[in-house]
Amino acid sequence: MKILELKNITKNFGAIHALQGVDLAISPGEAVGLMGDNGAGKSTLMKIVAGNFSPSNGEIFIEGKKTFFSNPLDARNHGIEIVYQDLALCDNLTAAANVFLVRELMSGFGFFSRLKHSAMNDRAAELFEELKSETRPKDLVEQMSGGQRQAVALARTRLSNPKLVLLDEPTAAISVRQVAGVLARIKQLKETGHAVILVSHRMPDVFAVCDRVVVLRRGKKIADKPILKTSTEEVTGLITGAIETA
């Protein structure tokens, strides 16, 4: 059973055709590297899967069932977690508040429920420890380094037990040592049966952890190959257009 299947996804922003008939399928325990030049449609595709955009055309299947996401919360309830390229953090809130944003732990009934501050702080501290990050739950995000901010965004994906984790350029803004940490985290997700889609510009990262590489160019999928049957040279050629199709 495929965790996620996209069929003929098309997305238009006015006259701009961001995605044109993209198909993509991913199984449990599989990591797919999604590559392409700037403006190829990678982030748009991720945002469709995460429920931020709805496709102009095409269908989304989750575990074989046709699904429609009306908002990002909807996608999360279907077991899809995303780490956005800009991490989507609020600088004015604490690390714990950011981790639990929109999914706050509360006690009480309906409107009269209150936030469980200490429970959220404790859980966030556990998550940061699992991620081997020194981030403290009560620190404001504005006080944090790039790696700590990354940890806050990653910790969000561990609140639920997601089927699919989307990582949009997770290694773009962090140090070399921290990149190793993120890659280890992706391997760990694979081993525990989660599917991962990694959007990245960095060829070594994709080749280090992914099983398949998918290349987008100008909104079209032009390649979908197992990592073992391709090379960095071929993928580079596909991205730039030096090689037409694979």
């Binding site: 429920g51 931020n52 908002n71 990002p72 919360l73 909807d74 999360r76 956005y84 800009d86 991490l87 989507a88 953090l89 609020c90 600088d91 004015n92 809130l93 508040a97 944003l101 929109v102 706050e104 509360m106 429920s113 209150r114 936030l115 501050h117 504005e142 006080q143 380094s145």
Partner: protein
């Protein structure tokens, strides 16, 4: 690290230290300052302003402005009394003789409706909040003038509607050292307590901070930003109407310019209390501190017999000073944040 966090705490709660200094200054300036009568006057002066500042604090934290509340305040006071008094000279009411309980409900609903309409115009109409609320300020004030043709609506001589004046007029009980505490003071205190709970301990407040801090991120994570902003304006309008109801009970005779120019003091109170005009920062307790500081200064200057002709100048200087303090606070914050980050590296 700990001392740095303590420094941030101090920076964010500077208002209470300033309030203490100003208070002590006035105690030495006037023998009448530290009297039961004056203290209860300070608290009474803080009520109407306090309600407007509470509403504005919600709006500011969500990263918006609401200039219209001073007009909503006046409109609510005018409308509430108009509903319950006889028509014609000298009361100039509607002659409806509405049940006072119903008129209270009508007044509050009108405030909430005005706020909600403004919120809808901003979110559905994608218009800038500053311009929409400025237009709201003018339109509501204009309606008040057109409606009354400048004549005051007077609430005297209708004892059957005493309930309406209860909030602004009555004393609740006597507290040693503080004088007779009015119903208005207790109500304002209660409003601040509830607003504090909402902002600090409720999901709604948490989402407002998120929207004010990073609107795109809040939307990306699934917060319905437009809906929250409409709710914030509704709340602001409701609190302005509550303030209007309270003020109607105090002044009894409502002029069509009631509350005009008040919005500047409201912003001053919020900003002095540490609520950021850029959104995402500030607390209800800080805002309360700002309100208390302004009313303390107001009463203090009064007791020092400062000429009324100079009061406006002093008020302007206070607002300027508040902005200066806010700018320094932001700078201090950034400095201490850099210190923290450097320590980490």
């Amino acid at each position: 690290m700990f001392s740095n966090n303590r420094l941030l705490f101090l920076i964010d709660n500077l208002i209470w230290a300033i309030l203490l200094v100003v208070f002590i200054f006035f105690v030495f300036q006037s023998e009448h300052f530290l009297t039961e009568r004056n203290i209860s006057n300070i608290l009474a002066a803080a009520t109407v302003l306090g309600l407007l500042v509470a509403g504005q604090t919600f709006v500011l934290i969500s990263g918006n402005f609401d200039l219209s509340t001073e007009s909503t305040l006046g409109m609510a006071a005018l409308f509430g009394i108009w509903l319950i008094v006889p028509g014609g000279v000298p009361t100039n009411g509607g002659g409806i003789f509405m049940n006072p309980y119903l008129s209270i409900i009508a007044t509050l609903s009108m405030g909430a409706a005005i706020g909600y309409c403004i919120g809808c115009l901003i979110t559905y109409g994608s218009m800038h909040n500053f311009i929409v609320t400025l237009a709201g300020l003018l339109i509501i004030r204009g309606l008040m003038l057109a409606f009354t043709e400048g004549a005051p609506v007077n609430g005297f001589n209708n004892p059957s509607a005493d309930v309406f004046y209860w909030l602004g007029h009555n004393k609740a009980f006597r507290v040693p050292g503080l004088g007779k505490i009015s119903v208005a003071v207790i109500a304002t205190g209660l409003v601040y307590f509830i607003c504090h709970l909402i902002l600090k301990h409720h999901k709604f407040g948490r989402e407002l901070y998120a929207i004010g801090g990073n609107r795109e991120a809040a939307a990306a994570l699934g917060i319905n930003v437009g809906r929250r902003i409409r709710q914030v304006y509704l709340l602001s309008g409701l609190l302005a109407a509550l303030a209007g109801w309270m003020l109607a009970g105090r002044v009894v005779s409502v002029q069509s310019n009631l509350g005009e120019g008040f919005i500047f003091t409201v912003f001053a109170g919020a900003v002095i209390g540490g609520v950021s005009l850029k959104g995402g920062r500030g607390t209800m307790l800080g805002a309360l501190g700002g309100v208390l500081l302004l009313s303390t200064i107001d009463r203090g200057l009064n007791l020092m017999h400062v000429s009324v002709f100079w009061i406006k100048v002093i008020q302007g200087l206070i607002i300027l000073l508040a902005m200066l303090i806010d700018a320094q606070r932001v700078r201090l914050r950034e400095l201490s944040l850099t210190a923290i980050t450097e320590k980490k590296l």
